[in-house]
Amino acid sequence: MNCRSIVRELSSYLEESLDSTLKASIEKHLEHCDDCRVVVDTTKKTIQIYCNSEPAPLPEDTKLRLREALMQRLRRVRA
């Protein structure tokens, strides 16, 4: 297992979809390779930060236009 293989298997490792032998050999490499450990850790954090980020509130006028468009269509559907 070398640094390049770690990058290649990075997604599968983070998604925990590797078989136990491959996972063990990656973890063995990570024990002594600081660079790979940092890459794995910061990539994992990248995913988590995006995944956990709250979307910004909608601007009031955007919200209003969405409600108006929905109401207009609903009236048409019911008519």
Partner: protein, 212 residues
């Protein structure tokens, strides 16, 4: 003996899907004509759908149109929703299709999701600096939102759309492939590229010592 190196990443799954338990009840009520139930669903997802549309189209007006069209289409086609996936996943698919149409209209020669990308071996990233724990907490919520949306905007469309569906909307590889009309290997290779590129771009904000 330190155990931190022996187990560099605790066995912790990536953030899991949070399924609102009342979603099927609201969908059933909306199907039966309960408008307020549909409005509750709109209120719950409008921010996420707007962000998705903005991340894909990179244009505020287009994002607003996409969001409106997605909710209107969802309402009109609610009878066709079988409940085989989450309502939100179904809504995301509708919104992605609308957003891709907008994007292709604006940039007809630039947006081809199935275009062959360089699938050569990924090399080891060059910038390797530790971020420390919870680097995002160094920024205010509004600052962080800006950093994340500006950073994803720097990616090529095919990378940012795959990342959006897989890692922000938490769709599976198969659902992402089906929604975008890509093969599973293509989704996987774009996702890896996108994750590495975003990691590298976020490095300037999150490396230790930055803004601390």
């Amino acid at each position: 003996m330190s155990t931190s190196k022996a187990n560099p990443l605790p066995a912790q799954p990536l953030p899991s899907q949070v399924v609102k338990e009342d979603e099927p009840i609201l969908v059933a009520a909306a199907k039966g004509g309960d408008i307020s139930a549909f409005e509750t669903l709109v209120g719950r997802y409008e921010r996420k759908i707007f962000r998705l549309a903005q991340n894909i189209t990179q244009n505020k007006e287009d994002a607003e149109d996409v969001m409106q069209e997605a909710f209107l289409k969802a309402y009109e086609h609610l009878g066709e929703f079988q409940g085989n996936s989450r309502f939100y996943t179904w809504l995301v698919r509708i919104a992605v299709n609308q957003a891709l149409m907008k994007l292709r209209k604006r940039r007809p020669n630039q947006v081809s999701l199935d275009e062959e990308v360089d699938t050569g071996e990924e090399s080891m990233p060059r910038e390797v600096e530790d971020w420390g724990p919870s680097p995002e907490e160094r920024y205010k919520q509004s600052e962080l939102s800006g950093i994340l949306s500006n950073t994803i905007a720097e990616l090529e469309p095919s990378f940012r759309i795959v990342f959006q569906l897989r890692d922000i909307e938490e769709m599976s590889t198969e659902e992402t492939a089906e929604t975008l009309g890509l093969s599973i290997p293509a989704v996987k290779s774009r996702l890896l590229r996108a994750r590495l590129k975003l990691r590298q771009k976020l490095n300037r904000y999150f490396r230790q010592g930055e803004n601390s």
